[in-house]
Amino acid sequence: MNVPVRLGPAELSLIAQLTGAGASGEAERLAAAGLPTRKVESYHYTDLKTLLRAVPELAGKAEGVSPPALRVAGAYQLMIANGVPQESGTAPAGVIVGTVEGSVLSTRDDVLVRLNSALVKTALRIDLDGSVDPVIQIDRRTEGPAAHAPSAAKIYVGDNASAVILETYSGSDAAHVTNHATYLALGKNAVVTHITVDLSARQATHFATNEYVLAEGAQLRTLVIHAGANVSRTHLFPKFAGKGAHADVTGLNLVSDGQHADITMDANHAVPHTSSKPLFKSIARGRSKAVVQGRLVVARDAQKTDAKLMAQGLMLSDEAEILCKPELEIYADDVVCGHGSTCGQLDEDSLFYLMSRGIPKTEAETLLVRGFLAELIDPIEDAALNEALTAVVDGWLAGK
């Protein structure tokens, strides 16, 4: 029964780093279990033992920074460089920026959550109150030679407050392994848009865990975009903790030849009368893999939960692979929950129709792909932000 796990170089590096950080308990746990393989359900399609061949040294101080990956006109910029929150400019009205020691995520039996909690020393903390006008951009960078960079942010949005938060991940062109965490709590009736865009270097491996807690009446829209790293995975944990809370949890995997992207969601409808509308899309070209796992858990008391999960995939090549796994785990008996999944290629008839009006093939394909994504981008109301995200998508489409 107790066959010792054969540890690879990635695991050995991580164990040494945990030990160095004084987290010997976590080090022992990792030594015993190893990185998760496809046998661990939540990593079934993203086998870390295979995908993570090596983990570089923990990041040192960032020396010089690369240009911002995404500029949004009028945004208030905050930066975390190589895991360390940086000094920021004067905060706009309703925004308090500071730091907090230790982990930001709730304790979970998840290796990336454990690593983040054990290795992050100082997290960025933001408190938002009232109607925050500018887009708050958290620009997370990993600079210099290949590094392992855990980072974290804890954001509190007050009752009745509203804000748009954009997180971008980028850095130098090196084989970084990043592990980012965000904890975002929404007060009563708070209205928040939270967008995370991975624009890491192509050699990089990007991990992110976003945890959301929604109080009564809170309205959340999220959008995860994977458009950078060779391997990317974002794990979303929305928790509906107050009556009337609603979230549009959305995400987009954009993968090209050789890439692997994974959006995994574990939504927790914990109380009665909450709703969610998770919508995830993937576009894959070349020999690539996109993964969407969506799990809706409805607690025994969470009557009148209304949750609909949708996963859609668009395959632009014969070698592309898109894997969608919806799961419903419902303990209440008076709910409306459902899930759907569709996958396919660009519709030939639509393509012919557009071309018959003189639109050349490549342009017609782009129009159709944009049409496929419109549901995700159109709801972003801030014009500058909408434009910036459209540019990310167009940039990916124009690339090979």
Partner: protein, 253 residues
């Protein structure tokens, strides 16, 4: 003699192993409106798709000359820029693409292909508004995704709007009357008639005579078993309506 706008010579086409067009010959001079009538399944719609360049069909023999230029080697977009327009029997719904965005992309693509400059946004808006007005197309409809949730009448009006904007040399209208009530049929026909021009030709495909009361053709052709079996003036349409297609099938055999 001037070059005809459309000349089809001995056109054969098949889908997979089934031959559908079996030697179509047709000449449509510029300025004229020709009608093709035929029963369901005679290959009329196939002819329109083959002209527009749909990939599913394989041309095995023959030529199609648009204003003297063979278009069979062109892809659908090139044919459109060369001046061919197909009004679809069933216009395709394109979710997520606003009608306005699509119209602008189409118009500018064709202008670019012909070496003309792009239209400025105000000029474009003006052109759309003008053409839209005659077809009772309001700005709300133009903001919606292309053909998504449009009624049958709205879809056909949108097709004619595209035709008016793109100003093709050769219009092929495939069963434009299908799915239209009499009022919508009038609006659409008036839209088409407004585009009749000495430098433009039209091929109207239908299996009902009633469309031809509104769009009066110069020549009527009867289509049966994959080719044209009879041609005549507009009275031929009335004869068909009275006798049915059966009398013409023998001539095809």
């Amino acid at each position: 003699m001037t070059t005809p706008m459309l000349e089809i010579r001995n056109l054969h086409a098949r889908i997979e192993e089934r031959e559908i067009l079996k030697g179509v010959n047709l000449v449509v001079p510029r300025g004229e409106v020709h009608a093709i009538m035929g029963r369901n399944g005679s290959g009329k719609s196939t002819l329109s798709y083959v002209l527009a360049g749909k990939e599913d069909y394989e041309v095995t023999e023959g030529e199609v000359l648009l204003d003297g230029v063979n278009i069979l080697d062109m892809d659908p977009a090139e044919r459109a820029s060369a001046g061919l327009f197909l009004a679809f029997q069933y216009p395709i719904e394109i979710p997520g693409v606003a009608t306005m965005t699509f119209l602008k992309a189409a118009l500018n693509a064709q202008r670019k292909a012909r070496g003309e400059g792009e239209l400025s946004t105000p000029d474009f808006m003006r052109a759309v508004k003008e053409s839209g007005k005659a077809l009772s197309i309001d700005s709300d409809m133009l903001k919606r995704a292309l053909n998504v949730g449009f009624s049958g009448g709205e879809k056909k009006r949108a097709e004619i709007l595209q035709m008016a904007l793109l100003k093709p040399k050769m219009c092929v209208l495939d069963e434009t009357d299908s799915g239209l009530d009499i009022d919508a049929l009038k609006v659409v026909s008036e839209g088409v008639n407004a585009l009749r021009d000495a430098d433009r030709a039209m091929l109207v495909i239908t299996h009902y005579q009633r469309l031809l009361d509104h769009i009066v053709p110069d020549v009527v052709h009867v289509f049966s078993s994959g080719r044209i079996v009879e041609s005549g003036d507009k009275s031929l349409a009335l004869e068909l309506e009275a006798k049915g297609y059966a009398g013409f099938d023998e001539q095809a055999a």
